[in-house]
Symmetry: C3
Subunit: 400 residues, 3 copies
């Protein structure tokens, strides 16, 4: 025994015996019937760019649900449950006509609201029976070059919001939509939980580290300065103000917002010009373990959004070797490596994480409101509602 | 509240809040000890063509069980559990000799009935001990160019059936066997539950839709006509009669049968000639999520069966692009897209599905019979039993 | 009924109705908190060769735990939990400096014992807060060209053992380390449970079968002779003595040892020279379903160990076709095909398996000792402990 004790040195804090990690399921998980899933289902979400809804049916996955997006030959977009109400073959193999989409197996025809219009193998084309059949469907609407869907309870469907920054264009500007997860730092579909990216909006401090000290100046020089950051809950979101003292004595004030429930209101980190935010991003939870980002922005030329994609070591993400991914990590590496869902129980949040804490609390409050039967912040049922305005932007100020 | 109500439009029947789908496990699942698994184990099933049983051991998967098929140097086919009764190394790496198959690890030798004949590392070659060891095995028998196996209880083993349509050959005909799932519309192994394909035999109505309106005339013109269909349970199966009125006034009467438990008795949809059915197909459930089809037919030339493989857009299944799979779907697309196992709870069966309902009921009755200790329909224990006859065929009739 | 009984032949011992296989979890499974996992965690295990610990962080998986191995710019190897204690990004994307490794996301810096030395986004670099943060870590030590880690409770950490056969080099010899699972018969990472390989040390009988009769003379002629084998528990392991009568009348006595808990003390099966064992191998359980082997040996030239890799049919494992794997199976095929974890419930152990039984019993005893609060055999807490000596070797004797 004395021999063993002699051999003991003071190894404290080792990884032995640590508890299994857990995550905050009520904030991260998005499937039907989950707390966050029900909250997210109270809002409209983009599920494709306009061209994704076409005569060729397309598989989409949204909030853990597999669905089929199409556009009938009358131009109406439709979003339906994949399995035909008859025998379950997928409408991915369906054929669209002027009135809707027809299943390949026995030809049942459904309109964009799931009504069954024809049953060609039934007597009288299913005259009576077909009225009792409904293909499960979701409401969709197009705006800003995106197709939005509402996956929630019918009697709680809010109006599809308008945003001032996308309504009022400056001279020579046009709107452009992009589905390739600009701002995610990697490919179009990013294999981790959506919350890890959404929280990052509230995290101004990682910029000079991850996008500066580690990977070189990814954006512009002034973004490499350590900011002073303040946060406040404002309307239906969290406003983040990062103030940087410039070498020339001026002040660079950068305001971002995380709009409920998934909106990125983030001015360009390249700071091509000062002023109000140029684009919006929607973090779409595909399922618990994947997300993607749809972006709409005011641009001068077609393709401007795509040119915003970040580069590490001068390369696009998919061009990097494994060693370069290690040497020049970006948002993808930092967030995906947190895990398929981050291990919240193991975090040590510090003063610089106050925005993360506030944003989680704001989400938690909305989850509780919905669970209690109420409507969450940021939804409107007024068709005449004014466009939503943001304070976000990059601002240069001569003095404090 | 008034604001919200103003925003509500009449969205009924949306996909929100729908119950989780379920399937009829007692009809679909095939593993040991399951209701359908026990029913299926009362019949012989093909597990390979004759050449598949060779001196090179071959992995086969049948009814959810992994097994090894081989042929000893005396010409006897054998089907054994993969893991050697000694220490569990796979007999896939075994070596066959005149007497059986020998494990690579310590050389134990087993005959085709699993008896241990040699233990070379044991004193006296395991003289006494080896008699207490049995490698788990299944009875096999060869017929019509196929190797059949019986995976059920030993005391319920029926005789291996003969079929009239394969016993009596017309002038110039020969038998040919094929393992490539002809009739399945895709590759040799099809990734969905076997029942989805087996039920399709009772479904004459999909032919003019899936194989006509959608994918163009895959077979012959008259198959594109909408049939009148009647069904009846006959002997150990379901007989399906599809009657089509031809433009020239004659009547095309096509009879197919679904023989218990997995037999396709389907005359050629190409109708090369009128008359009795030319081939039989066995739908082999590989496991709950995969099946394949073995076919034996009377042919004029070697390769005639392979030439029967269906084409979409003029191409074999594996030659199609993803977009062509969508534009020219066939049986593979219709059935695999029902899901790994179809969602029976979500179906809306109509009058044209009466055959499906009857076939499921017939299967359900057999499941119950076996569960109650009885023998299911279609098994015979009489070695002198006459070959089974079918009514199936393509028949042309001048008048009703 | 008489018809059925007439059809019954005497099929006994078929695979129908056999019970589901089970394995001895308490011996095979290695995760935290499992009986064997806790036993294994009382010993040091190699987790890389010295060069694997470098300024480029490396993912390692040990006993079911994912960890990051690195070396700081002061030359100290470190082994840490991947997810940064702050927000969980992986230290795989971290950057090392003289003092430790820094997370890419917010720059927290940890030394090789997990102490947090810097929090650049916090006031005063986290002056006080950082002392309350510890990155989970494990002790590591370098010896014989390998990096060893101790994953057990801090107060039970034994001294890292020395071995006589690696301490005392003969004239012209040097030590060489190899990470490529020499002796495993396949690739560096072998996809089955570690115990299947470890037990094989006690199994001298498979040599003339698997490595002789099946795959041709893999080693040297005398290894193809059937040995007489005896086993005894000696110190902290099992000693296996295989005696072969040579055609010239001399006796070839080969002694191997299985040292607790994973040590291969196996003289070269190529018998390049007679004498004491030349190398040691550590069977590292990566997780329940994978292992690898680290080897250190006394060699004459760099690369001698790599040249020991076994060949089947004259080829390295990765050069074989599937058919050659079947025709010329080696340790990889025999052991991996036992299953991801061997089915212990289905074994039929014979007299030649006595060593397997003894080795399992020895492991079982250690598991029980640890569960009862004791220290297992073979650990020492004496920093002055003498190097461990083995009896293993290839010996040629003129007479009995």
């Amino acid at each position: 025994m004395s021999a063993r004790q002699a051999g003991v040195d003071a190894d404290s804090g080792t990884a032995y015996g640590r508890p299994a990690p857990t995550h905050r399921a009520e904030l991260a998980e998005v499937g039907p019937g989950t707390p966050m899933g029900e909250l997210l289902r109270r809002y409209w979400h983009p599920i494709g760019v306009a061209a994704d809804a076409s005569e060729t049916p397309r598989k989409v996955r949204v909030l853990g649900e597999d669905l089929i997006l199409f556009r009938d030959k009358s131009g109406r977009p439709g979003l339906v449950y994949p399995h035909c109400a008859h025998r379950g073959s997928s409408l991915y193999y369906g054929r669209v006509d002027e009135r809707g989409i027809r299943c390949c197996y026995h030809g049942w025809l459904f309109d964009v609201q799931g009504r069954c219009l024809d049953q060609p193998c039934e007597p009288g084309n299913g005259a009576k029976f077909r009225e009792r059949v409904r293909q499960p469907w979701y409401p969709v609407a197009e705006r800003y070059g995106l197709v939005f869907a509402y996956l929630g309870p019918a009697d709680r469907k809010p109006v599809l919001p308008r945003y001032e920054c996308l309504e009022n264009l400056d001279e020579g500007e046009m709107l452009e939509a992009n589905a390739n997860s600009i701002g995610g730092g990697g490919p179009a579909v990013i294999p981790c939980n959506w919350l890890q990216h959404y929280e990052n909006i509230a995290d101004s401090f990682h910029v000079p580290i991850l996008h500066g000290a580690f990977s070189g100046t990814q954006f512009v020089d002034q973004m490499g300065l350590m900011p002073e950051v303040s946060w406040r809950v404002r309307d239906a979101g969290l406003e983040v103000t990062a103030v940087r003292r410039m070498p020339d004595g001026r002040t660079f004030r950068r305001v971002s917002e995380a709009g409920l429930p998934t909106l990125r209101v983030v001015p360009s980190p390249r700071v091509g010009q000062y002023g109000r935010v140029e684009s919006l991003g929607w973090v779409l939870p595909i399922d618990d373990h994947h997300f993607r980002i749809y972006v709409v922005g005011r641009v001068k030329q077609v393709g401007d959004l795509a040119r915003m994609r970040s580069r590490q070591n001068g390369k696009l993400w998919e061009e990097l070797t494994e060693e370069e991914h290690q040497q020049f990590p970006g948002d993808y590496e930092a967030m995906v490596s947190q895990g398929s869902i981050a291990r919240h129980s193991e975090e040590h949040l510090a003063t610089s994480d106050r925005g993360i804490v506030m944003l989680r609390r704001l989400l938690q409050q909305q989850v509780e409101t919905v669970a209690a039967g109420g409507d969450p912040a940021g939804v409107s049922f007024d068709p005449e509602a004014k466009p939503i305005e943001f304070t976000a932007g990059n601002y240069l100020e001569d003095q404090d």
